[in-house]
Symmetry: none
Subunit: 418 residues, 2 copies
């Protein structure tokens, strides 16, 4: 059976530009992974007539319609109602959904309102698309042959959980005929265009295909193979991955779901070594990134957020005279911070960060975007690296890029020492 | 003249999920600022038939169609061609555009190819929408009365420059007659459905309108007014806002671009008091959130990431016996952490966090999702609050919600003390 998918996002907040449509991107990626062709994305507001009109168009050209949004308990959550009325099918309350909703509320101590009951309604004949983490389920419904609806809430975390646990296996079984498999190679410290130039000759490959993309300063290469089985796809990807790794060397820090923090964590775990951090301008973001990795307590001991100079002096033993002479944003202060935290927390390694994230606080000699990262290693060496980010990127871009750069510098230093 | 806008994004990369559709969000925001109603967003790939089909639908329901993408020099850049052929209008080379393209290339030392010449083609009768920073211009074209096209490249920076310098003033002149203005009220600690139930009676208002929405556990209410001037719109919003605030009380922490961290920052700044943090399971995220606010150095001194027990003992003076007896995740340890960091960093206030973010580490009596937040105040009082999050939300959801809850608890405590 051939299938053509359409994503229909329902929510006035998208039309007002209050949020970016990350759900469409997620579903698009997931459809690509399943090998399901997808030709249209539509957004309409919480308006019954326009939802009907969008359904008319979508049902005339697509055989798989995936909606997000409009499943909540409030009066402007209209998706289920609109779809069922479009097909002249009555809504019915599902006892098990209503029970689940009551349970979710009692667990978290919130108060149920009459509104919530409407979330238990589904069109007659529709199956429940279980929501493992929220109150509102979606539905899986084939209102007529060759036309399938899947509905999801607009909350991304709920969409992801429902997709991965219910929708993906369901769609794989229904439409599976061969599979797409992708491997993503992750890069830090090289621009997308420079990376693309290195592997230009691979972009014409047909199976697997190689495509570059970038996200928040992180360049990536996606290798995608189509085959009868996942194993065959993996075998097609392997030689191309090897060739790319040969060309791009140490810039590639990991694949797929790896993060710089998880890669650093694996390195430390393998050697049974520990890490501590001292952060000024990033204010805890490096620690936050490291502790995103479950199980990090086996190598991460903690750190100090030394936002003020007094904290640098009192908790990290930075020399007051050095601070006065060189300023808080200097290579030597970064080095003293790294040594200080390493000694204080008795860790094998330490990373320190001091910089000017802006928008204020920059000077001619020390502009916004100037950052020092220092790494102290188990042999007692310490080295500060100067980074310069484009001030026009803004405070939080600079802080985020600093955290990634610090982890990447640590990774390279760790691998070099061996 | 009434107008209804539609955004049509053209690009296979959007259908593959390679990039998020930030252009739609940007244009949506800009249209809202101009008071131009906007009802549909569509995405299609670089496919001539489907672009034609999308044009058929869009021209039948919208009077202002804004396209992004497909203006580049490569064979799969089809937008200009598709629009002109849809209206049976010939393309003509514009000498000034071709000169601009040649100039741009010679300036940046790139080599022109035959492909680039196609970027100088526009339908007969269309005006040039100047691109101040890239090679490809867009067009402003009214192919028939009451139907206006504006085309933009897909590169966000070029879209922004063209919008701000050319399109916005043009649209303001053409359609300017009144404006939309919105105010968003922000909530923490109350579910979207409970909030909606409290202000249910306001959802039928016509001008201003009131609508609820939620984002990452944060409930919001949007009040939107249409009026001739921004001032009139603000005046329409004021009484409705006052009524909502009266009903929803302390749950409302701020408006529009406020964050919990910026609100906390303002409170501290007003009283000229300082804050320090001690974090376990959030690993620095609270500090990161606080330091997102530019200028936070006037009230935020820093903190300790006490991921291991040793750090709690050595840097925060938590009692080892208490730790052994009650465990790291306990009210008394949270209180000792808050007192410890407050004394160590000589701050007026302190917030501490200790909890089990999971997915491992939970027990029957201390499950994943159990968190203690303690707040130490300038009078020397300290109090721990127990929070319980749904473990199925996952590690990072729990951590993020913990950070928001800690800031909200601090805000309420601060206001209570007065």
């Amino acid at each position: 059976m051939t299938v053509g998918a359409e994503i229909l996002c329902i929510g006035t907040e998208l039309l007002l530009g209050e949020i970016v449509n990350s759900n469409s991107q997620y579903i698009a990626q997931q459809l690509a992974l399943l090998g399901i062709p997808h030709f249209y994305q539509t957004v309409v507001g919480d308006n019954p007539d326009r939802i009907h009109q969008a359904l008319e168009i979508a049902t005339s050209r697509s055989s798989l319609i995936i909606t997000t949004g409009g499943l909540g308990p409030t009066p402007d959550d209209l998706t289920t109602e609109a779809i069922s009325s479009f097909f002249n099918t009555p809504l019915e309350e599902r006892a098990e959904v209503w029970e689940h909703i009551q349970q979710m509320y009692s667990q978290t101590g919130r108060t149920l309102t009459a509104n919530n009951r409407k979330q238990a309604l589904l069109p007659r004949g529709a199956d429940i698309l279980t929501n493992p983490i929220g109150t509102a389920p979606g539905m899986i419904w084939e209102p007529r042959p060759n036309l399938l609806f899947l509905t999801f809430p607009g909350v991304p975390s709920e969409l992801y959980a429902m997709w991965e646990q219910v929708a993906a296996p369901y769609l794989q079984t229904k439409y599976g005929q061969g599979t797409f498999h992708s491997k993503v190679l992750l890069y830090w410290g090289i621009a997308e265009s420079a990376l693309a130039a290195k592997v230009n000759h691979l972009f014409d490959l047909q199976n697997p295909t190689v495509a570059p993309y970038a996200n928040y300063g992180q360049a990536r290469l996606r290798i995608t193979a189509r085959a009868n089985t996942k194993e065959e796809a993996i075998a097609l990807i392997a030689p191309v991955e090897a060739e790319i790794r040969e060309i791009t060397g140490e810039h590639c820090y990991g694949t797929d779901d790896d993060t710089l923090a998880s890669v650093v964590g694996k390195l430390l775990q393998e050697k049974n070594q520990t890490l501590a951090v001292a952060e000024s301008c990033t204010g805890g973001w490096l620690g936050e990134a490291i502790t995103q990795v479950s199980g990090c307590s086996s190598y991460f001991v903690g750190g100090v957020i030394s936002y003020s100079n007094e904290v640098k002096i009192n908790l990290l033993s930075v020399d007051r005279q050095i601070l006065d002479q060189h300023g808080a944003v200097s290579a030597i202060v970064a080095e003293q911070m790294a040594i200080g935290i390493k000694q204080k927390l008795k860790s094998d390694w330490a990373i320190s960060i001091t910089g000017i994230a802006g928008p204020s606080g920059g000077t001619e000699t020390k502009p916004v975007g100037l950052v020092y990262v220092a790494i102290a290693d188990p042999m007692g060496n310490v080295e500060a690296i100067e980074l310069r980010f484009n001030p026009s990127r803004g405070r939080n871009w600079i802080r985020k890029a600093t955290v990634s750069s610090a982890l990447d510098l640590f990774r390279k230093r760790f691998v070099m020492i061996g």
